[in-house]
Amino acid sequence: MDLFVAIFAGTVIAATPLIFAALGELVVEKSGVLNLGVEGMMLMGAAFAFWAVIAGLPMPVAILAGGLAGAAASLLFGVLALTFLTNQYAAGLALAIFGSGVSAFLGRNFGSAPIDALKRIQVPVLSDIPVIGPMVFRFDPMVYFAIACFLVITWFLYRTKAGLILRTVGESPETAHAIGFPVIRIRYLAVLFGGLMAGLGGAYLSVAYTPLWVENMTAGKGWIALALVVFATWRPLRVLLGAWLFGGMTILQLQGQALGIAVPSELLSALPYLATIAVLVIISQNRQMLAQHFPASLAKPFRPAS
């Protein structure tokens, strides 16, 4: 039972950075923009949050700094892709490489010492309930914040007029423009939000999940976040479940390595990536669903007719 509780709790924590990054990218893609630079923005967020902590800033400020670093990085992409109508694939890839470089440069002075991780909350009374307590009520605040983000984003996309406008901008910017919506401004806001969320995800990695600095510490999580959005057929709930699946596989393979299963650890490390992609590929086969949720003008540049 203890093992199960440990795996469950580990899963939720391992999924948290992915939830932030993938939900952010979901909003970006729903507006019809493809920002491939998630990995770079996460690394920027991780580096700046870590920097803020060793500079002595309080934890919430450090995490916010990580988010803002991600947003700043995404602004770079926004200017290229939305104002200058650069190819979005190229601009996104450039951002991924740029973020990885900048974060590595900053990290040269971080040293290898761990920092004090983000404190966990011990919800009074509730956290003492056997089994349920450690599974639900003993996480750090960012875990709960990620789930709150999921709820708010789902509500925003499907229950508010602003969310509806965002989705229609992603389907047909021409029609949205004709009705009179400021397509470019809406897309900028979506891109900035995506950057903020990716930055928060990165910050979580460096100050909560593994509170020490390692170059390229995201280890491809930005790319997994991108894949999650696509294979989750652009639906928030599936993004959340996909992130948990990935988190669960990560913890399982760690347990497997700890138990000394006779499989090379490199292969075990690849397992979460493979399993997540495989499951999502299988559930994304429904074309009817795709037609409903796919932002039809994804990655197509839009210039409003004068």
């Binding site: 509806l164 989705r167 389907e171 409903q292 039809a296």
Partner: protein
């Protein structure tokens, strides 16, 4: 009485063309006024000027006796002027009610709006389900959404741009009922069309345009179609020459007991479809849209294949399992109903579009495209079929609907097919081009080819076909000889099964 809308001496030029030249007209409250003209006559420009989407170079617009000075779509709507475009401005992935909510000011209350939509759409006899997603709707239903969107704002003047070019005959009847009801309530309607019969049936008055000028005004109900056509086209319409058919002995296309599942959730299953088309004759397939035509055409063209090779035979050869390319190799040619996107690649030049199906005529050698030959092939089609285009280098999307259709039909005929399959040959095509295309089909069949025409326009089928088939709920009727049948019989076959159990569904769909 003060006219609802009055135009005085409207002029509008674009670089190289005078779209509107000194146009004046006036429309009374509750009047249904037709603006009649061929494609390119300046109708759409005029409507944009009325709606404020384009500005006139000179001239004045009065609404209820007041001069409209500065003008844009928002101020038009404030005045009670609404427009239903030919190409709908709807988002496919969201629901009807969400689409409508986006263009309405005020509170975002989908439930209240949905109730209002249901209410209004029922009052005007065009039921729509506000919770359905637009991509699941037929074109007719989409148009209803657009009209309901306008009606929700209680317009004083409603502009409809070619509203029936995408509708089935039944949907047209319903639309006309709605429009008459609206007019009776005092709303003025501007009805843009090039279809004479519709204008005569619906409209109180008409202004006819040709080359941007008014060439006449008329009371359509008291004017013969010939007179209206002369004002529109400026010369006598070409007469059709349909000589008697000389069908060959063995069928070129044979369909035997073809049964197939629907294409998607809103498709129709085909049940035991059997018919034959011989060389030298034109067979028409009539039916209300959404009765299995899409499935049948996909199976005949080879876009969809069938497990039983014998279900479809082309030139006696079992072909149902063959793909589109292999069927073309057997001498079949195909013109799909979607010109842009299926029949042609919109941004590509005509010579490139010619290569798409003309590559078997020696244009491609050793995997390389001979550009000179491709251009010559396209040029040949342009000349022979009188396509108005800026040469083989013109992009497909730069052509008008009628000219692109002539090019696509011409491209396929240039392949000298033994079997010619064409779907909706004259949808959204102007009168002159439509007559030309129909004559081309007749000539092709009289030269020995087997021609199958799928169309929702009964007039067209009665004009050119030798035999008629009727498709209803996925079943195809036995063939009717055109000279021995009439519209009533065909109309009955088109709807008789529909009046039974599935009648209600059908009413909702069209």
């Amino acid at each position: 009485m003060i006219p609802r809308l009055e135009l005085r001496n409207i002029c509008k030029s674009y670089p190289g063309v005078v779209a509107n030249d000194d146009i004046s007209l006036s429309i009374m409250p509750g009047e249904i006024h037709a603006v009649l003209g061929e494609n390119g006559a300046g109708k759409s420009t005029l409507m944009k000027i009325i709606y404020g989407a384009a500005q006139a170079d000179s001239g004045e617009i009065y609404c209820d006796g007041r001069l409209i000075a500065a003008h844009d779509p928002a101020s038009s709507r404030a005045l009670g002027i609404e427009m239903v475009y030919q190409h709908f401005a709807l988002f496919e992935s969201v629901t009807v009610v969400e689409n409508i909510a986006l263009s309405l000011p005020g509170r975002f209350d989908l439930d209240a709006l949905a109730a209002q939509i249901t209410d209004l759409s029922q009052r005007y006899g065009m039921p729509i389900d506000p919770r359905r997603r637009v991509h699941d709707l037929s074109v007719g239903e989409r148009q209803r959404v657009e009209i309901v969107r306008c009606l929700l704002r209680s317009p004083k003047l409603l502009i409809l741009d070619e509203p029936t070019s995408v509708l089935t005959p039944q949907a047209v009847v319903k639309l006309f009922e709605t429009l008459r009801q609206l007019a009776a309530e005092g709303c003025s309607i501007v009805y843009i069309s090039h279809k004479l019969d519709e204008v005569q049936e619906l409209c109180d008055s008409a202004t006819v345009l040709r080359n941007g000028r008014v060439t006449g005004t008329a009371k359509p109900k008291q004017t013969t179609s010939l007179e209206l056509a002369r004002m529109m086209v400026g010369s006598q319409l070409p007469e059709m020459h349909v000589s008697p058919a000389m069908p060959g002995e063995t069928p070129v296309l044979e369909v035997r007991g073809l049964t197939a599942a629907p294409r998607d959730r809103y498709g129709v299953a085909l049940e035991g479809v059997s018919f034959a088309v011989h060389g030298g004759e034109i067979v028409g397939l009539a039916g209300i849209s959404g009765n299995g035509q899409a499935e049948l055409v996909a199976l005949l063209s080879g876009e969809r294949t069938h497990a039983d090779p014998d279900a479809i035979r082309i030139g006696g050869k079992p072909s149902a399992h063959l793909g589109a390319g292999q069927r073309r190799r057997l001498g079949m040619a195909f013109v799909p109903e979607e010109r842009l996107g299926r029949g042609a690649v919109p941004p590509h030049a005509l010579w490139q579009n010619a290569v798409l199906t003309g590559h078997r005529t020696g244009i491609v050698r050793n995997g390389l495209v001979d550009r000179g030959k491709a251009a010559a092939f396209a040029k040949g089609v342009i000349d022979r079929f009188k396509v108005k285009a800026n040469g083989p280098q013109a992009s497909a999307q730069s052509l008008s609907g009628g000219n692109l259709q002539k090019f696509i039909v011409g491209r396929e005929i240039a392949l000298a097919p033994k079997l010619f399959l064409v779907s909706q040959p004259t949808w959204g095509v102007d009168v002159g081009a439509a007559a030309f295309i129909r004559q081309t089909l007749v000539d092709l069949s009289r030269a020995g080819a087997a021609v199958l025409v799928v169309s929702e326009e009964l007039d067209e089928l009665f004009e050119i076909c030798d035999r008629l088939l009727v498709i209803c709920q996925g079943k195809v009727s036995p063939p009717l000889i055109r000279r021995q049948t009439n519209r009533e019989e065909v109309g009955l076959l088109m709807t008789n099964r529909a009046s039974g159990t599935k009648g209600k569904d059908l009413a909702l769909q069209d």
